[in-house]
């Protein structure tokens, strides 16, 4: 498959960006992960940051004006290969509903499904980590079944507990740390999404395949 039209530009004096003008799709993102892996570890680059359909690389502005970085991005992208990226698989145990997922019934009402069907569909789908951002360890997941899409809450919560599994619009995600948030909380995991003492410090990495596994006694 041919990649979409790519643009290459500088962001300020210390970053170069590759952005693909196309609807977000997995094939393009796989090329971005491949490119990120090629570039990671290079001493002249301080950060290599995948976004949705884009990649930002950070360099030392005293050492480079970005011209060579842009040229290299362009050259590597022309040979980018989506096939040679091997994803990891991560299983997330979730206690759905009850105090752990106070909005499960709201999602059920909005989607016209029963709470058990919401759980079955949410835990029956395969998800992909497109990239991380927002908080340390927060993964932007692709793959939420369309039937589960639910608009964000009118009133965001001031504090969403760490580990909450949530649906916001057509996305699902897990809050690594307590934070304000407007997504619907349908469950909670005991896994630590971010632990600064671990290596790597985040449970999920760009490109990972993720599944949710319901734990028993979710109506307790």
């Amino acid at each position: 498959m041919k990649p979409g039209e790519a643009r290459f530009y500088l962001l300020g004096e210390r970053a170069a960006v590759l952005a693909v003008d196309a609807p977000a799709e997995l094939a393009c993102q796989r090329r971005i992960w491949w490119l990120a892996n090629q570039l990671r570890g290079r001493t002249e680059l301080t950060d290599v940051v995948p976004g949705m359909n884009n990649l930002t690389v950070v360099f030392d502005p005293l050492a480079s004006d970005g011209t060579t970085v842009l040229a290299e991005l362009e050259q590597l992208w022309s040979g980018a290969d989506e096939a040679s990226f091997t994803p990891r698989e991560v299983l997330i145990p979730v206690r759905y509903g009850g105090a752990d997922g106070p909005d499960l019934d709201d999602v059920a009402r909005h989607t016209g499904l029963s709470p058990d069907e919401v759980i079955a569909r949410h835990s029956g789908a395969d998800y992909i980590v497109f990239f991380l951002g927002f908080q340390p360890g927060f993964a932007y997941l692709g793959g939420l079944p369309e039937a589960l899409a639910t608009p964000r809450r009118a009133e965001p919560r001031l504090a969403v507990p760490a580990g909450s599994v949530a649906i916001g619009g057509s996305q699902t995600g897990i809050y690594p740390a307590a934070a304000p948030g407007g997504w619907h909380l349908i469950g909670r995991t005991a896994l630590a999404l971010f632990d600064p003492r671990r290596d790597p410090p985040t449970l999920l990495l760009p490109g990972d395949r993720v599944r949710f596994a319901p734990e028993e006694a979710h109506h307790a």
């Binding site: 004096e13 977000a24 990671r40 301080t46 940051v49 951002g133 360890g137 760009p206």
Partner: protein, 308 residues
Amino acid sequence: MLEILRPGVQTTVQDLGRHGLRHLGIGQGGALDMPALRMANRLVGNPEGAAGLEIVLGPVQLRFLRDGWLALTGADFDATLDGAPVWCGWRQAMRAGQVLQLRGCHHGMRAYLAVDGGIAVPEVLGARATDLAAGFGGFAGRALQAGDRLPQGAAVALEGRAGSRPPQWTPEIRALPGPEYDEFSAAAQDALWTRPWSVTPQSNRMGYRLAGPALERTARHELLSHGVLPGVVQVPPGGQPIVLLADAQTSGGYPRIATVIEADLWKLAQARPGAELHFVPTTLAEARHALRQQRYHLNRFNWSAYGH
């Protein structure tokens, strides 16, 4: 060791920040006024990247528990050591048991305190900077409280006083057009460079929210999430720009009308709510030149003070 007696509005342990972890959602952090921290460290003979304290307004009181050296840079406070005046921008000797007090702040917003040997809290993910949002790094991952005792690194042998003239704060903030600059109306582009932008009280280590004429974007499409860095000027749908700073999230989705050049980011760190800022267009070559000049200023201090 040094002991916090009064922590002030927000005193945190900061260094030059974390790097190489943005792809995990882990932000940079570190001193908002990096040149001030670098200079404070140089004054007391530390490596530039040693950890010091970032002090937001006052009043702050702390006690030193060993003999050594201190330097205050950044905001210009009324500072005393056991009642005797301390000159901002100069190093001076301290004795175990002496109390440093910071009261009124004449200019600026954030002071940096360096002590010889640095604040020796453990490194977390490659830095000693405090990540307040995620709650790790620095001292217990939080702003300092009364009674906290901070470890101090090994003493550095220094002689006599040494000082450096602080950079002059002016409201001009040089910036480069951002990736979505052309998506804004001609009136918005004009307003960005010609109108004053006032710092709102909703400004913090994550970003400075500015108030001025609403900046209208003519393009309608939503942007896909992308990496952002300190200095990026985002414009949310309301049209009031936000300049991202050290504690900003690693990704964003708002259009980027401009990026503040690195050499001028310290001016935001020292701008108080209500201050008016002016964006001045510049070029990539000028931005790099300004950064080189800023580093040269630091190096020149080393040549004069230490002969290297």
